[in-house]
């Protein structure tokens, strides 16, 4: 996802001279290095200093440029939070804050590097839009939308690198619209981010057991596609929401509220990170499992 973002951004920046990147001491991967070589003035490294990363983006945006702030999600969003709120959101500036390693992607680096609450925090700020694509192709489409938009601030939550493709058979990405990745009849999985891969794997496995599972990417968390989600809640007897985020302020609670408001009768089960700092280390899958998110758990919830 990181490399796809960089490649997509570079292609856009070659056509639009207003696009700039402000990073806080993160090594420019792949095409970002190329961008830096081609447009040295438009690539700014503030060093380990995230408040000025956001402040500069605001000032550059006020003078007509289109800056992207880019670093590890915890440092992109939490450290300069009030700058994002006051400088970007309060003033409604078209700046994209890119958070790399959303969720517990940086699984061996400990809680300081786990963006477990980022979607809830970003979504709480007025004017902020929140996008969390699930695979490299969806990242490409989301990035293309971000570089083109001029309306206001965006938090773009990405994973790291090497995520598999899961959107091959889906209709094109549309900002603010739920995207059906896989058709099904019995159960509908709603989710966002790379963790949705577990949902796709479970759907394939359960098909062999005669359970037909649909999977949808809710890549745009804010504004949420209420019109797109309500019919799913009405037409499926069972819905499973999965997200690599803490339960508070997440998609799960919002979907349950939507079901109540719309009078849906479906059963809703939610799978999320725990409301807990788990002091455990391992690969990404292992930390997710420590939080209770695994292929087996998804299969169990969907087939229960």
């Amino acid at each position: 996802m990181r490399n796809t973002f960089a490649k997509t951004f570079l292609e856009a920046a070659q056509k639009d001279a207003r696009l700039c990147v402000v990073v806080a001491d993160i090594s420019p991967a792949g095409a970002m290095d190329q961008f830096r070589k081609e447009f040295p003035e438009r690539f700014i490294n503030t060093g380990v200093a995230e408040q000025i990363m956001i402040g500069m983006c605001a000032g550059m945006s006020m003078r007509g440029l289109k800056p992207f702030a880019y670093t590890i999600a915890t440092f992109a969003l939490y450290r300069p939070f009030e700058f994002i709120r006051d400088d970007l959101c309060y003033q409604d500036l078209p700046v994209t804050v890119v958070g790399i390693g959303g969720g517990v992607t940086y699984s061996t680096l400990g809680g300081t590097h786990h963006a477990m609450e980022d979607v809830a925090i970003a979504s709480a700020i007025p004017n902020m839009r929140v996008i969390a694509p699930c695979d490299p192709e969806e990242t490409r489409a989301a990035t293309q939308w971000c570089v083109a938009q001029e309306e206001g601030p965006v938090y773009l939550r990405l994973g790291k690198a090497g995520e598999p493709l899961i959107t091959q058979n889906a209709k094109p990405f549309a900002f603010g619209k739920v995207r059906l990745l896989r058709e099904g009849r019995d159960v509908c999985i709603l989710g966002y981010g790379p963790v949705l891969k577990l949902g796709m794997d479970a759907a394939v496995a359960l098909e062999k057991r005669g359970i037909s599972v649909a999977v949808a990417s809710v890549h745009t968390l804010k504004p949420l596609d209420r019109e797109g989600i309500v019919p799913l809640l009405a037409s499926f007897p069972k819905v499973v929401v999965m997200e690599e985020m803490v339960p508070h302020g997440g998609l799960g609670n919002t979907v349950k509220a939507l079901a109540w408001e719309s009078g849906a009768r479906c059963r809703i089960d939610c799978l999320s990170l725990q409301d807990e700092f788990i002091h455990s280390y391992g690969n990404h899958d292992e930390i997710l499992r420590a939080h209770g998110i695994s292929f087996d758990r998804v299969v169990q919830l969907v087939s229960a």
Partner: protein, 280 residues
């Protein structure tokens, strides 16, 4: 007129500036009678600073409307002064100042981006330096030659973010950034010169961060004008302006309560009687 005033008088009429500054203070006192909170004293400390920037240093736009350079009131609680200056320049309608802090109006006790002449929404301290650095770098990328003038408080230089910005300004060689620091010494709680002695010396701090810096009397328009025009250039520039909080109304000077308080009817009458042209 002092000799140094004479030297700059061809380009900047100091006597006229003094008259304007008294009028701004008078206007602010008048508005203070309509609202409960106004930040009169922190507005009064930066009256001369704001006037000399708008009237003596910012270059007008080629089409004659407004300026090609930009002004950023980083110490948002000083915005009454900016409003009064913008009103005198015809950028901000007088009716808007009359509707200050009312539901019918657009002006609040901190500046809002989108209002006439206002570049950024400030009020939370320590944000202006970063925004100004971004603006100045953008103008470099755009090859516009435009300059960014920012007015900061001494208090907000206690925020680490101000120094993140100061460091980046020098790293990016932003010689088009001019920061005026209103050194009125009075924080929300106490005098910084007594409570936070390590804050000083400030000029050396800016210089060690790669800035050019000078210290002047912040109520002396001639000295500020001259200092800016005498700068060597090639780096961001910090003009450290020593001021008096509440300057212009004797009973408000140096008294912390006037940070927020609006004068009562009797105090207003006394202030108007007391109001005088400030000379450096």
């Amino acid at each position: 007129m002092r000799p140094d005033e004479k030297r700059v008088s061809e380009r900047f009429d100091v006597a006229a500036a003094r008259r304007r500054c008294m009028q701004y203070r008078r206007r602010i006192l008048d508005i203070s009678q309509k609202v409960t909170a106004l930040h009169a004293a922190p507005a009064f400390s930066c009256v001369e600073i704001t006037d000399v920037i708008y009237r003596g240093l910012m270059r007008p736009a080629p089409d004659g409307k407004g300026f090609s350079d930009a002004f950023l009131m980083s110490k948002g609680h000083g915005c009454m002064t900016q409003y009064a200056v913008l009103e005198a320049l015809g950028i901000l309608a007088s009716e808007e100042l009359d509707r200050y802090c009312t539901p019918q109006g657009i002006l609040g006790a901190h500046p809002d981006r989108g209002n006439p002449g206002i570049e950024a929404s400030t009020g939370s301290l320590g944000h202006g330096m970063g925004i100004a650095v971004g603006m100045a770098h953008a103008e470099k990328i755009l090859r516009s030659g435009k300059r960014i003038f920012a007015v900061l408080s001494d208090g907000e230089l206690q925020e680490g973010s101000s120094w993140e910005g100061a460091m980046m300004a020098a790293n990016l060689h932003l010689d088009n950034l001019l920061a005026f620091v209103d050194l009125n010494d009075i924080g929300g709680l106490e005098k910084m010169s007594q409570s936070h002695t390590a804050f000083y010396p400030l000029r050396e701090k800016f210089e060690s961060f790669g800035w050019e810096s000078a210290e002047v009397n912040g109520h002396d328009c001639a000295a500020m004008h001259q200092a800016v025009n005498a700068r060597r250039g090639g780096r961001p520039y910090a003009l450290l302006c020593k001021t008096v909080k509440g300057r212009g109304v004797e009973f408000m000077e140096h008294v912390p309560i006037w940070h927020y308080r609006s004068p009562s009817k009797e105090e207003y009458a006394a202030a108007i009687r007391d109001l005088r042209e400030v000379s450096a």
